[in-house]
Symmetry: C2
Subunit: 196 residues, 2 copies
């Protein structure tokens, strides 16, 4: 999404689960994602996002602005991490406990983000779109799918506004409509584009 | 350590475990650490470190340099996170599995960091000290304690060099010698200062 936002040309390579064992040893750390740029292979989601954000103008202009963005992105990351922990937990008792933790953490974080979105008139970190908004949008889609299509921002009108603002940006809208998505997805962001 | 490196004045407030339930609701997200600066309360370890690093000259000078630092810091964070997961896991079977994962991940990451340290002549991310080095030093102390005083960089002479370089910086040395430490610590960085 960050690459699309900046109208940068890129190839989005995804692997089927059954091919991963063959691909894994060819990656720098045995992990995905990897950004191949010029002759470099860059690992780690957070650093990749921040690096690209700086290139396409989705980062802050000074240390204070970057702090706002980083804190928001990290808060969203905490919720997403807990949602994934819930999704992949196989022990039923523990799964229930992780869900409790998720449902306790989510309103704490979303309340802070909602206040941010009020202050910034429809954006998460600054009074303009930043990569924190994009991370929010991706996390929202994932969490909604993990929680069986629960619209987790139903009670947060200003976070709905953030979503609406992002889905009205042409470059993002185009990418969301053409990107490959997982067949297991119940909710896809593009559902909300066609409704508007 | 970042604050000390920059010779910034600060107060290091820590709470006893039994006081935490009383303190928790007074923090912005029910989490520690919190950085109080002027009238702001800033949460999230990573963003706090990056913000302070920029103030004291431990961050990069451009997007490429910041990427190097961020990737290194994130890799170290992955190892540390797994070490903490091991430490706090109470189910014995799962604890063993997390330990296996840790002992598999650590050499992958440490080999990359060792290569970095060779290229950068004794530093983790750039050819000078950055906050990635400080994160490495803190993680090293924690992991060594979690693994019952195993010196996890024993096979990595250049990571030992990184440690030595950091422990020769006066501002860090002073702080390490005077900071409050946990009574459960078996290994304390200051042990290695007095030996040199």
């Amino acid at each position: 999404m960050i690459l699309s936002y900046g109208n940068l040309e890129f190839e989005d390579i995804r692997y089927a689960k059954e091919d991963w064992p063959k691909i894994k040893p060819t990656t720098p750390l045995g992990q995905m994602p990897v950004l191949h740029i010029n002759d470099k292979s860059i690992t780690q989601t957070g650093p990749i996002c921040r690096y690209l954000a700086n290139i396409v103008g989705l980062a802050g202009n000074n240390n204070e602005e970057n702090l706002e963005i980083d804190v928001a992105a990290e808060m969203i990351g905490d919720v997403l991490k807990t949602a994934y922990e819930y999704r992949f937990e196989t022990d039923e008792t523990r799964k229930e406990k992780v869900k409790e933790r998720l449902l306790e953490l989510m309103p704490i974080i979303f309340t802070v983000l909602e206040e941010n979105a009020i202050r910034n008139q429809g954006y998460i970190a600054l009074d303009r779109v930043t990569f924190a908004d994009i991370i929010f949008l991706c996390a929202y889609e994932d969490i909604r799918n993990i929680l069986e299509n629960t619209d987790v921002i139903n009670d947060y009108p200003n976070l709905q506004e953030v979503k609406k603002n992002l889905l009205s940006i042409n470059s993002l809208k185009d990418w969301i409509q053409k990107r490959p998505t997982l067949p297991i997805f119940i909710y896809d962001l593009k559902n909300d584009i066609s409704n508007e």
